[in-house]
């Protein structure tokens, strides 16, 4: 009973004090603070029960403080080896301690902590101070040990009293030394250690010392990785994770919402790797423009300028990785002549998955600044045509510049909201939708994502992505001889923006199916995530992570459109559903449909106001007008800025 509150208090108070002093080794700092506290508790109990029953009392205390035993046992088994023997757990824990010393130690402990016992209620600073002394004392004692021995042997004949005293001293010194050694050993034997989760004390949570936080993160991760054995008493996994999330937010500077979103995508230690990888920039990669040059020639030209580079990997025949360069890599004459494009390795992937064939008509729905569009054009070898669309007019400037610089002659650049396709033009052989996203895969490039994305942003984005993917699917002609493919990609790693969107598309458009992306690396997409279960074919999609593939976080899914008809579901055909399924591949189809519904409505109108024929005529006219307007609005939704 005595042990628990004292220890808790000690733990809570001690660590903020210790943190600023020696924060390099946070966990270890907490440890020595707690040991004497446990001792004190035991001694207090022992005093009350009398020396004869000391062992029992000690045992009782030990049982009481089972929760804190991680810290307590070090002290207990050193001082009380008989107790240790009684308790199986500790026998296995430490076998090396000396029984005799243990017996003596009891006395010694009683002596030493007699005064400090009174201080046990004193504030943490005092306790910490005494502890420090304790440590130092141990070290000093160790050093002096030999001296004591020497004096012992000389004076032993003179005085029995002296001898007894010195023997006692000697033993005490030995015990101290052993204690110190044991401490050292526990330092090494990290595996057996358990980490005590700090309580909800504000002092701890406010501690902004990053090294302390980092140490705590490491500890919690270690516990979580082997939870059954390492957990502390009755603390649940959620307690640990809640603390870990707070620490990660503090350490890496994410907002809590995003942290939680990202954290659950990975196993615990992988999540840390992911956050760590987001702090390091990815290597600079360039893509050879095969319309103008070849990779070997380009590499030679750049090496002549002193650029240090290497092929990006076996998976790409056009990528080069730049390690360092004495000249700005974005302004060399080769760059200006359009021989290469500065482009992240990850953005090769969707185009490789799309695999456009010559003489095809391809749409890139969100194309600025044109890295992927120009890659598509290069694969088409300037045959067929590329429709490069972007919703942002300012960004189309750089898109046009890149298209011209790289010598793409078959491109049309337009500035539509992607959702207006296929209203503008449809029937493409292939469509690439690199959807606007939260950018959680490119945090290393743009760290502002860490804080400026809220739940609302994610909802808006995933809604936009769902609308875009449907229009992308509708823009493709399933009857195309060579194509009929859609590639959906984002530079985000969250499930909401990836698997969820793909799953939605599969549900809403039963005329498409997922096919293999053709990329031989990357992790499979999730078929289930937390409470969500997705279509099993989503395992054909691919995920890329910064810590695994050393490229930006990325997601690629490839669809094949089977037929142009969207099969209707029989069961629930409510108004919204019907709106969804209107055949919007052809503008004319839409018009005719509008007229049809118009007709039925006017019939209703007529039945109501049967008498006034002229009125009905007027109503019909205005109705038609209204519907036309409505349809017009539907066709061109408001531009979201």
């Amino acid at each position: 009973m005595a042990g628990r509150p004292a220890t808790k208090k000690g733990a809570a108070k001690a660590s903020p004090v210790s943190s600023p002093q020696k924060n390099a080794n946070n966990k270890r700092k907490v440890n020595p603070v707690k040991e004497p506290v446990a001792k004190k508790a035991k001694v207090a109990a022992g005093k009350a029960a009398g020396k004869a029953t000391g062992k029992k009392a000690a045992k009782a205390v030990e049982e009481d403080s089972e929760d804190d035993e991680s810290w307590a046992y070090g002290a207990v088994d050193e001082s009380d080896s008989e107790v240790e023997e009684m308790d199986d757990e500790f026998v296995s824990a430490e076998e090396g301690s000396d029984i005799e010393v243990g017996a003596l130690n009891d006395d010694f402990l009683g002596d030493e902590f007699a005064e400090s016992d009174e201080e046990s209620k004193a504030p943490g600073t005092a306790m910490f101070g005494s502890d420090e002394e304790d440590e130092e004392e141990g070290e000093e004692e160790e050093e002096d040990e030999e001296d004591i021995f020497a004096s012992n042997s000389e004076d032993s004949d003179d005085d029995d009293d002296m001898e007894a005293k010195s023997r006692k001293l000697d033993a005490a010194a030995k015990a101290e030394a052993e204690e110190a050694e044991a401490e050292l050993q526990t330092n090494i034997m990290l595996e057996n250690d358990k980490y005590v989760l700090p309580g909800d004390d504000h002092e701890i949570l406010q501690s902004t010392d990053l090294q302390v936080v980092q140490a705590r993160i490491q500890e919690i991760v270690r516990v979580l990785n082997n939870f059954r054995e390492m957990r502390e008493g009755n603390r649940s996994r959620n307690d640990y994770i809640a603390q870990l999330l707070k620490d990660l937010c503090l350490y890496y500077g994410y907002n809590e919402y995003l942290m939680e979103k990202l954290f659950y995508i990975f196993p615990v230690s992988e999540a840390i790797e992911f956050f760590e990888a987001n702090e390091v920039p990815r290597p600079v990669t360039i893509r050879t423009n095969t319309l103008k040059t070849r990779r070997r020639e380009l590499a030679q030209a750049l090496i002549n300028r002193g650029v240090n580079l290497d092929p990006v990997g076996k998976w790409s025949k056009v990528g080069l990785q730049v390690f360092d360069s004495p000249v700005p890599i974005g302004a060399t004459p080769e760059y200006l002549a359009g021989h290469y494009m500065l482009q992240a390795a990850s953005s090769f992937l969707p185009v490789m998955a799309l695999a456009p064939q010559e003489h095809e008509r391809v749409l890139d729905m969100a194309s600025a600044p044109g890295g992927k569009s120009t890659y598509i054009a290069a694969l088409l070898k300037n045959t067929g045509m590329v429709f490069a669309n972007d919703a942002n007019k300012d960004r189309t400037k750089s898109l046009v510049a890149n298209i011209h610089r790289l010598g793409v002659k078959n491109a049309v650049v337009c500035n539509y909201d992607g959702r207006e396709f296929p209203g503008v033009i449809g029937g493409f052989d292939r469509v690439l939708l690199d959807a606007p996203c939260s950018g959680t895969g490119v945090i290393s490039k743009d760290a502002s994502v860490k804080t400026n994305k809220s739940e609302q942003d994610f909802q808006m984005l995933s809604q936009l992505q769902k609308q875009l993917i449907l229009s992308a699917i509708d823009s493709v002609d399933a009857g195309s001889k060579t194509g009929g493919y859609i590639v959906y990609s984002t530079c985000s790693v969250t499930v909401d923006e990836n698997e969820d969107v793909v799953n939605y598309a599969l549900k809403k458009r039963p005329n498409v199916k997922l096919v293999s992306t053709g990329l031989d690396f990357g992790k499979e997409g999730f078929t289930r995530f937390r409470e969500k279960v997705f279509h099993p074919s989503i395992s054909l999609t691919r995920r890329y992570y910064p810590h695994m593939h050393n490229m930006d976080g990325f997601y690629v899914a490839k669809f094949k459109k089977i037929s142009n008809k969207i099969p209707k579901k029989e069961d629930n055909v409510d108004l919204d559903e019907e709106e969804e399924f209107t055949p919007i591949t052809e503008e004319t189809g839409k018009r005719s449909r509008g007229k049809k519904s118009n007709g039925s409505k006017t019939a209703e109108e007529e039945s109501i106001s049967f008498n006034a024929d002229e009125d009905a005529e007027l109503i019909r006219a205005s109705q038609a007008k209204l519907l036309q307007q409505q349809k017009g609005i539907k066709l061109r939704p408001k531009k979201s800025t």
């Binding site: 030209a301 974005g330 302004a331 004459p333 080769e334 200006l336 002549a337 359009g338 021989h339 008509r361 045509m385 429709f387 007019k393 189309t396 400037k397 750089s398 898109l399 046009v400 510049a401 298209i403 011209h404 610089r405 010598g407 002659k409 078959n410 491109a411 049309v412 650049v413 337009c414 500035n415 539509y416 503008v424 033009i425």
Partner: protein, 180 residues
């Protein structure tokens, strides 16, 4: 987007002929596909007919560019060539100037070409003739107008300007905002 009027065609072709002469016919009568010039928002685009037909479904306000931009008509009705057409005119150029590696960067920053930087010149280039500027590795860097004929340049000082700068590929970075 519309075809060029007669007057526009005349101004445009006069300018173009300064660089590629009678080779303009190669641009119009191509073996592979029918190509055409189209005017869109003062800019002249050179584009294949099939692409042009598809691009007609894009609204005027939303169409940003198609094919390759050759240049634009100024408010005074003159035609100004843009560096974006370099690929085509380099292909059919009559007169060429190669500049040494140490002259590349000054030219790409928008400076005129001085005699010291000249590596090679096409023989018998007349005065005020449009020329394409190449690097010594045959990468087209831009185009300009000669200040003197080839024979005259031999007597000039090394610091004298030989080719007046018209356009260079550095403009992709320097004038990204105004060019497109």
């Amino acid at each position: 987007m519309r075809p060029l009027t007669e007057l526009e065609t005349k101004t445009f072709f006069e300018k173009l002929a300064k660089y590629i002469g009678r080779n303009i016919t190669h641009l119009i009568d191509r073996g592979d596909e029918t190509y055409c010039f189209r005017l869109h928002r003062d800019r002249v685009y050179y584009v294949s007919e099939s692409v042009m037909r598809k691009a007609t479904s894009v609204g005027r306000d939303q169409l940003i560019s198609l094919g390759i931009c050759f240049g634009k008509f100024t408010k005074t009705g003159k035609f100004r060539m843009h560096v974006t057409c370099l690929d085509y005119i380099a292909q059919y150029a009559k007169h060429k100037v190669w500049i040494k590696p140490n002259g590349e960067m000054p030219f790409l920053y928008g400076n005129h070409v001085v005699k010291a930087h000249i590596g090679r010149v096409t023989e018998d280039t007349p005065e005020h003739q449009g020329v394409i500027i190449y690097s010594m590795t045959d990468v087209p860097l831009g185009f300009g107008v000669t200040a003197r004929s080839t024979s005259d340049t031999r007597k000039m000082e090394p610091t004298a300007i030989v080719v007046f700068h018209q356009a260079d590929i550095g403009e992709y970075l320097r004038q990204e905002d105004t060019l497109f």
